[in-house]
Amino acid sequence: MKIHQLSLFLENKPGRLSEPCQALASEGINILTLSLADTQQFGILRIIVRDWEKARDVLSKMGCVVNITEVVATEVEDRPGGLAEILKVIEAGGINIEYMYAFTFRYGDKAVLVFRFNDPDAALKVLQAKGINVIGPVELYERMRS
């Protein structure tokens, strides 16, 4: 049920973001969503792509430091309070969120969020026990196509 996320170390200098994006583009790899954390000196780019193994190889070959992390994607009702309800469940389960970001696409009246938990397996159990729809990679990529 977990999704592979690629993270890249980038120096905070002009051009450092476009280089990996260009490399993925020339291999026909589409970035489904991304998030960028930055400091004055460096940034961490996190991306989700369908063919993560190929993307990892492409980026490693160009000398990028690439890290693979497992993240969890969940559906969220796109209305006031939708996110708050999920966060309450996570909080009650004692699960720590390292960071989170969203997919750009919507599915019906639902948005899709990406969570990086300190313990993804424990988080999955908590979410599923509360009936929150966790989207696995197969379903996720299926939706992207439709």
Binding site: S7, E11, Q41, F42, T69
Partner: protein, 440 residues
């Protein structure tokens, strides 16, 4: 019984000479060398100024009456103004690697060349070299003394040489696998470079059949030794030399790896305060100053090396009686004075090697944006270090910062940079960029 990592072998009886006998030999040779250089224009002028004649050297204490020789003196007498023999007696010319400016040249007679090979052979044998071994030399060959010095030292022992020189790391790794040399000779930073390159190309460096390594030509730390030993699965020995004095072979470690034995039958070593030029106490750090006792072509009196190290006069468990010198902690001219505090690049390296997840690939940048010195240390991020969590990265950066502060006493700005963005050295690593305009 001392714990020998390799078989304890000693090449020459001079290495184990009783101290009184060594001092007598040194005095005799000092008197001879003072006579030999009396007609070298630089020394002739200095002797006339100070009223020195060879007859006035009556004890080793009289060494202190002799003039110093500096790198600058050698430059001013470029190319061969220090030659003490007729030019036709020159058998080889080498030079400094030019780390700190203009090239300086040194000449050797046939006898000097033989002496040099023997000095290198001494530390190679001390580190376990036997005639049946194959030695992979990845030092630069050329005017730099490293390649040829070790090359002839290995041949003197009767072992085989693989003279690969530095560079083309892929080929170095191929031959480390295919020819299975027993011993690796190069700079310590290049040894780590080879290990890195191998691993990045899917070869586990500790599987090379290497047994020992002899590393030198740049300062390195004990942590770096442990890293080289574990990465390459070898025993790593330190050796020291500088072209002006003779090249590698001035001193080298024995099987006990506990300080480098100075070849005192050929060199007198002094350890002086670099500012007052007074001797420091035993075991205290100071600038090493060498007088060459046996060199024919270009003997030097009291050559100021700018290398900061300490001397240990105690006899060693290996049986040698010669004075041992510590690792070179830094250079009196590489020493950075940051907000009044003396900082050596080797201290930064020591700190990095103590932080889990940091790499020894670094660059120190010194700036003075206003009136206050700022020092930034760029450290490469490797896959093993990198995390997708900002907090982990900041924790690493803070850990490096704290470690450097603990060792140097100053706060530096630690910058994490992408892999392979810091230039790799094939020879001596460039570790410091000083952007301060200290003359303006």
């Amino acid at each position: 019984m001392p714990d020998f990592k390799v078989e304890n072998r000693i090449l020459d009886e001079e290495e184990t000479m009783p101290r009184a006998q060594m001092r007598a030999l040194q005095l005799k040779r000092l008197q001879e060398v003072v006579a030999r250089v009396a007609n070298v224009p630089f020394y002739k002028a200095a002797f006339a100024r100070e009223g020195i004649t060879p007859e006035k050297i009556k004890s080793l204490d009289d060494l202190r009456r002799l003039p110093f020789t500096t790198k600058d003196d050698l430059r001013q007498n470029y190319p061969l103004g220090f030659l003490a023999v007729p030019r036709k007696e020159i058998a080889r010319i080498h030079g400094s690697s030019g780390t700190t400016g203009k090239l300086t040249l040194v000449a050797y007679t046939r006898e000097d060349r033989e002496t040099w090979a023997n000095l290198c052979a001494r530390f190679l044998v001390g580190g376990g070299l036997k005639p049946e071994h194959l030695v992979h030399i990845a030092f630069g060959y050329g005017i730099f003394t490293g390649g040829f010095g070790l090359h002839y030292g290995v041949e003197r022992v009767g072992a085989a040489v693989l003279p690969l020189a530095s560079g083309n790391t892929a080929r170095q790794i191929m031959l480390l696998q295919d020819l299975a040399p027993d011993v690796l000779v190069c700079t310590p930073s290049y040894a780590l470079n080879i290990a890195d390159y191998a691993r990045n190309n899917g070869v586990e460096p500790s599987t090379f059949p290497l047994k020992y390594g002899h590393f030198g030509a740049e300062p390195w730390t004990e942590e770096m030794r442990l890293k080289i030993e574990s990465e390459l699965g070898i025993t790593a020995f330190n050796n020291y030399g500088l072209s002006e004095v003779i090249g590698p072979g001035v001193s080298g470690e024995c099987a006990l790896q506990n300080g480098m034995h100075v070849q005192e039958d050929h060199f007198i070593v002094e350890c002086l305060d670099p500012v007052t030029l007074e001797p420091v106490e035993d075991f205290a750090y100071g600038e090493l100053v060498f007088t060459t006792l046996t060199k024919q072509a270009m003997p030097l009196l009291r050559y100021r090396t700018r290398d900061i190290a300490a001397l240990d006069p105690r006899p060693c468990g290996c049986g040698r009686t010669t004075t041992r010198m510590s690792r070179v902690k830094g250079r009196s001219d590489d020493m950075l004075i940051i907000r009044g505090v003396n900082v050596f690049p080797s201290q930064i390296e020591e700190a990095l090697l103590q932080v889990e997840g940091a790499t020894p690939h670094y660059l120190i940048e010194v700036d003075r944006p206003g009136t206050l010195d700022q020092i930034a240390v760029k450290v490469e991020v490797l896959p093993g270090i990198f995390s997708d969590k900002m907090s982990d990265m900041q924790r690493l950066r803070d850990a490096i910062d704290r470690r450097i502060q603990a060792i140097t006493g100053i706060h530096v700005k630690v910058e994490l940079v992408a892999p392979q963005t810091i230039e790799r050295s094939m020879g001596k690593a460039k570790r410091v960029v000083d952007n301060r305009n200290l003359n303006g």
